[in-house]
């Protein structure tokens, strides 16, 4: 990019502006505030409600085994968990992957986490009790703990993830998917899939579903830092299904600007994990593309088709243009 020259070097924001990079202030003021009504936040923040809504609309989600709502239920934990060898415990109002505990297997009353740590039943109980008291929820409001199906991710991703489940984050604006990336956990991110916690972000081509560019800690990388797996060139299966699913999530909660987190299960295919009402800043680094041109284009459209396949087609057109 030659135009601009010294001015771009003097004023880096001019360059960012031309690249169409969306900043946090602009995202909050122009997209989150106008398109996401406050009253709908609870549908997104409460994973239990999101899940219920998704089931109603037939969007596949990881199965919910049990909900722990009150301290008293912790005493019954072993009975409650008896049928399940592996499961995930997560706070219903958690954010940023905090408070999620993945149990891989268990033997005589001890639970083995995927990190290899072994927990006693008391440890697990304390963790759930912390969740209930609101340790992981915003503002410390009392929460409930969800115990759900542990996703066996698609073997396609084994090479690019370390201790955790990689997921696909798709930003959806006015019901049209606009950008996608894969977030792969690393040793640094401790199994979590958030970029600012040290996960790897991999840009995905919206049209073909092929990965093409990796970033880790805001730097470009070619290989996964822990496993050494090649990041580019992975072809995400069921890509159109995934886009369709993301587009439908918009209809489900009625918010105009959301991030949809989807995991690929080996047996069950794409499952919707959770929604996010404030997505989309790091994704621009992973895809090496600014969100603004696409968002502004869609914002300018008088009407967005109601039909989901048409919106997926529109998503590809938009991605192709900008």
């Amino acid at each position: 990019m030659k135009a601009g020259g010294w001015k771009d070097r003097m004023f880096p924001w001019r360059r960012l502006r031309r690249l169409g990079i969306l900043g946090m202030n602009e995202r909050n003021a122009d997209f989150v505030l106008p398109y996401n009504p406050r009253s709908l936040y609870q549908l997104v923040d409460d994973k239990r409600r999101t899940k219920a809504l998704a089931i109603e609309l037939g969007i596949p989600v990881p199965r919910l085994y049990a909900v722990v709502e009150i301290e008293h239920q912790i005493e019954d934990l072993s009975r409650l968990l008896a049928p399940y060898g592996e499961f995930v415990v997560k706070p219903s109002h958690g954010s940023g992957g905090e408070g999620i505990l993945v149990v891989e297997s268990r033997s005589d009353g001890r639970y083995r986490r995927c990190s290899g740590l072994v927990l006693t039943e008391e440890d697990l109980g304390h963790h759930i009790s912390n969740i209930l008291s609101g340790m992981y929820s915003l503002g410390g409001i009392p929460d409930c703990a969800l115990i759900e199906y542990r996703v066996n991710f698609d073997p396609l991703f084994t090479e690019v993830s370390y201790l955790g489940v990689p997921d696909i984050r798709i930003v959806v604006f006015r019901g049209v998917p606009v950008m996608a990336m894969i977030r792969a956990p690393t040793r640094l991110s401790d199994g979590k899939a958030n970029l600012h916690q040290g996960a790897v972000g991999v840009g995905v081509d919206m049209i073909t579903g092929r990965t093409y560019n990796g970033i880790w800690r805001e730097r470009r990388i070619e290989e996964h830092p822990d496993t050494g797996g090649e990041l580019a060139g992975i072809c995400v299966p069921h890509w159109d299904d995934i886009l369709t699913m993301a587009a439908r999530c918009n209809d489900m909660v009625g918010m105009g600007y959301i991030g949809v987190d989807i995991v690929l299960d080996r047996d069950l295919g794409p499952l919707m994990l959770e929604l996010n009402a404030r997505p989309g800043l790091s994704i621009q680094l992973a895809t090496r593309t600014g969100l603004l041109p696409r968002l502004r284009y869609l914002e300018g459209l008088r009407e967005i088709p109601r039909d989901v396949p048409e919106r997926v087609a529109l998503a590809k057109t938009v991605a192709n243009r900008f």
């Binding site: 360059r15 960012l16 202030n25 003021a29």
Partner: protein, 510 residues
């Protein structure tokens, strides 16, 4: 749409704030700088007399009307048990003290505090007031001498003023002729002299009157008033120096009273005497302007913060700085992109720093947080529920504060006691949040955010402890409307944050 709305609102708020501020500076004369000092003169008249037994005493004393070039800040009348009235006939102002029964030596005081103010005009005499006509006072032999002199002078003058000047030159000349010697003969002091001049001028049908000046000279005590002469030139009264004929008042002088009536009249007493003393001191402009504005009957000053009790004023001196800190936070978070523990926590810490002094504050903050963190990590191993754990941290914080206070006090470091001013709930929350971040994201992130918060608190302290800003927001609280306008504008700021330029540097390289 809403962007335009916000801009209009911000423009209106800014305009209102600045207009009010402009009015206060230009019309009321409130200073923009906190250090501006002005000279204040205090003139004190001490009246002494011996009261007769068993009779009512009345004292009439001439006092200044608002003098030209000065603002009267305050006036005091000090006399125990005397009843006091003042009246102003448009020319002279008088204080009247009265008491039904007293005896022995009596002392009354009148004090006036003046500040120099070039803009202040002498209060004009109300229209329709007739100048008192004073009786001819030249005795027969002097009348003849005066007429002779006047005839000589008249030919060398054009109008009343030049006539009076020429006369004064003759009267004060070193080589006196017989007429002048006769007129000078029985003069005992400057007061007599001024009255004699007035009488001679009246002989020539020139309107003249004596005036009495208080010369503002620092540390003058037991002084008296300086007599001066005024001549009417058809439009206004012109001041003349009775011993040289020069026009104008001496520098640093005020007109105490006008006319030849006696300055002091006492009924029911004898041996009346007045002594004047003058003192100069400097006072803050703000106070002067505030007093002056009140004298002017300004509604704005009537409802200003100065009308509150001093104790409440001091509370507002701190409170009004909080918006400045809040704006700083908005700027640092939304424009720079800094992260802090809790939105306004650094501002509350900064407010505490005001009391503890910066270095002590920072040292004690670090000590408290470090000790708190250590104990918090210990609590973690006990696996407590959230609210009890928070309460436990709070209790520990308070105990630590008490301990630090006692220890530093015993060591003779008085400053340490002020640790009690830290907002302890905020401290407990900070420690809790910091330990969570420590566990979730590691010590590096926790220390980064901790020192970030501390840095913001220090910046907040520096801006909130500025004398200049403190003065501005207290004297011109309407400027906070401008701060509000800026905050609203930043609320619609959609540009990049400074740290985002760093975050997206990857994109910039590409």
């Amino acid at each position: 749409m809403s962007k335009l709305h916000v801009r209009l609102l911000a423009a209106v708020l800014t305009a209102v704030g600045l207009a009010l501020c402009y009015y206060k500076v230009e019309i009321l004369g409130l200073p923009l700088l906190p250090t501006e000092q002005a000279e204040v003169w205090t003139v004190e008249a001490r009246i002494e007399f011996k009261a007769r037994r068993d009779t009512a005493v009345k004292v009439q004393f001439a006092i200044p009307r608002a003098p030209r070039g000065y603002t009267v800040l305050d006036e005091n009348f000090v006399a125990s048990d005397y009843g006091l009235t003042t009246d102003d006939n448009g020319l002279r102002r008088q204080a009247r003290w009265a008491i039904r029964e007293t005896h022995g030596w009596q002392v009354l005081y009148y004090r006036i505090h003046l500040a120099k103010d070039p803009a202040a005009e002498a209060s004009p005499p109300p229209t329709g007031v007739v100048m008192p006509v004073e009786p001819q006072s030249l005795p027969e032999p002097l009348q003849a001498a005066a007429r002779g002199l006047l005839n000589e002078v008249r030919s060398k003058s054009a109008d009343n003023v030049t006539f009076a000047q020429a006369l004064l030159q003759r009267l004060n000349a070193a080589d006196a002729d017989s007429n002048v010697s006769l007129l000078r003969q029985d003069i005992t002091g400057p007061d007599d002299w001024a009255r004699r001049i007035v009488a001679i001028l009246r002989e020539a049908d020139v309107s003249a009157r004596p005036v009495y000046l208080a010369i503002l000279k620092d540390n003058a005590s037991r002084g008296s008033l300086t007599p001066w002469v005024e001549v009417f030139d058809g439009d206004s009264w012109v001041d003349l120096n009775p011993s040289s004929g020069e026009t104008g008042l001496p520098g640093d002088a005020i007109v105490w009273t006008v006319g030849s009536e006696p300055l002091l009249e006492i009924t029911g007493g004898k041996n009346g005497r007045v002594e004047y003393s003058v003192r100069r001191h400097s006072q803050e402009m703000t106070q002067i302007a505030e007093q002056r504005a009140r004298k002017m009957g300004s509604r704005i000053m009537e409802f200003s913060l100065f009308s509150l009790p001093v104790k409440t004023q001091n509370v507002y001196r701190v409170l009004l700085l909080v918006p400045i800190g809040a704006f700083l936070i908005v700027f640092l978070r939304n424009v720079v992109g800094l992260q802090t523990f809790g939105t306004f926590m650094p501002i509350l810490i900064a407010a505490a720093f005001r009391e503890t002094q910066l270095l002590w504050g920072v040292a004690m903050f670090c000590l408290l947080v470090a000790l708190g963190l250590l104990l918090r990590f210990y609590l973690e191993s006990l696996k407590l529920l959230l609210v009890p754990r928070l309460a436990a941290v709070l209790i520990i914080v308070i105990l630590l504060m008490a301990m630090v206070s006692v220890m530093t006090y015993k060591l003779g470091l008085d400053r340490g006691v002020s640790v009690a001013l830290f907002p302890m709930v905020i401290m407990a929350m900070t420690i809790e949040r910091m330990s969570m971040v420590w566990e979730e994201f590691g010590p590096v992130e926790a220390l980064k955010q901790g020192f970030g918060s501390l840095a913001v608190a220090v910046l907040g302290y520096l801006s909130m402890s500025s004398d200049y800003l403190g003065h501005l927001v207290f004297v011109f609280p309407e400027l906070l409307l401008v701060v509000l306008a800026l905050t609203l504008l930043l609320g619609r700021y959609t540009g990049y944050r400074l740290l985002e330029l760093w975050r997206f540097r990857g994109a910039l390289k590409g």
